[in-house]
Symmetry: C2
Subunit: 230 residues, 2 copies
Amino acid sequence: MTVWDRPEPPTRPVPLDRERIVAAAIALADEGGLEAVSLRKVAARLDAGPMRLYGYISTKEELFDLMVDEVHAEILPEERPGDWREALRVHAHRTRRATLRHEWLADLLGGRPNLGPNALAVTETTLAALDGLADLDTVLRAVETVSAYFTGAIRREIANLRAERATGLSKHDWQRASGPHVEKMLATGRFPTLAKVVYDGTEVDAEASFATGLDWVLDAVAAKLARPPA
Amino acid sequence: MTVWDRPEPPTRPVPLDRERIVAAAIALADEGGLEAVSLRKVAARLDAGPMRLYGYISTKEELFDLMVDEVHAEILPEERPGDWREALRVHAHRTRRATLRHEWLADLLGGRPNLGPNALAVTETTLAALDGLADLDTVLRAVETVSAYFTGAIRREIANLRAERATGLSKHDWQRASGPHVEKMLATGRFPTLAKVVYDGTEVDAEASFATGLDWVLDAVAAKLARPPA
DNA sequence: ATTTTACCATTACGATGTATCGCAACAGTA
DNA sequence: TACTGTTGCGATACATCGTAATGGTAAAAT
């Protein structure tokens, strides 16, 4: 058995780190949604066995946590924003845009506390922009209220977007035509107001809706920041 | 081969309907969370084979849709509420309470459009309470803004609650002590505002936070309903 | 040079959602 | 009453999943 008969030794396994793992997972999720992310497929992208990953994460949920935090790096504004209102608005819009780039984020948003370094940095920046404008509790409530709003709004927007894609219709048409079910329901006359909205409502740009609702909430915050807490 | 040797004919399979299926699924989810809901286990509860369910639903997601709609029956207020503000507030609180009873709802809230009969009824009631107070689009935006808020707020509340349960600590303590990670992060000094909030913030009752944020949003809505749209 | 350690691939297990298929009980017809 | 279609159900099967356990092998330590 000469050297020539023996194959070359297998190339050393490609080095791994969380960054590479998370990048692979995000790529998969971007392409096929969260459900396309399996530890096996992530590992395969890195020319590794599935079990290899357990050196870096101990559960699939942790991988999701890492993914979410990674996207928060995109959310973190690059320049310190002007006033508090601008800071909150930017935070909301950047989150929305990031979610449009990575739709799977909608499935994770608000699902678990985000304690990764990037998420903390985002929170810090936002809090800092409000610091001193009112007592701590009010500031916190302001940030949480705004973020509750945009979390919910983004999730709904993505949910609608998926429904539109699934049916190939705009939301407006989709509600009326696509669902014989909805059609039928409305025809019963049990939902007169809803029917009015569906039939007479104008179709509004998603981004505009988002921005308008956000402005309302920001107005509310402004009112509470203005005067000391009740 | 006498009669006695022959077994009795198998009892006819227990009759099934969606109501029973959904009830079984909800029971499972209440006990063990959404992940405890598998078609096999649901079917087992009904003394049926898994495939039997596919006569009533064609996919697991549909089962989730049915579950969500079923809970909306609990959310629907029994008496027509007073004014619009009360209507929105009641909608929010009833949704929150339902989610506390069925925590898994937090995982589904806002994830898909809710078009079931009960969900439509809830929407109708809410819309009806605002009907005529402003043009349709404003009314719709009001309802959507409020519901985006409470969807997001509820999800965060449940997320925190789970984290507390998992660590056995209150959120306050959990952020400071449990996570050596968070501790360390804050100690870096890179998150001064956040540190202040974590260390100096008072611990507020979850329901109170929810109610306060909700009131803020309702104030904002009130302002927009008062004067005609910009 | 030998032992220890640390890592990694393999194997394996139980569970899942769902496609397929064959059967058995009923409905309707002759 | 015999026969035949139809319908709905169970069993089987498959591909996939997350992850526990195992065992080998290469680098580090002695």
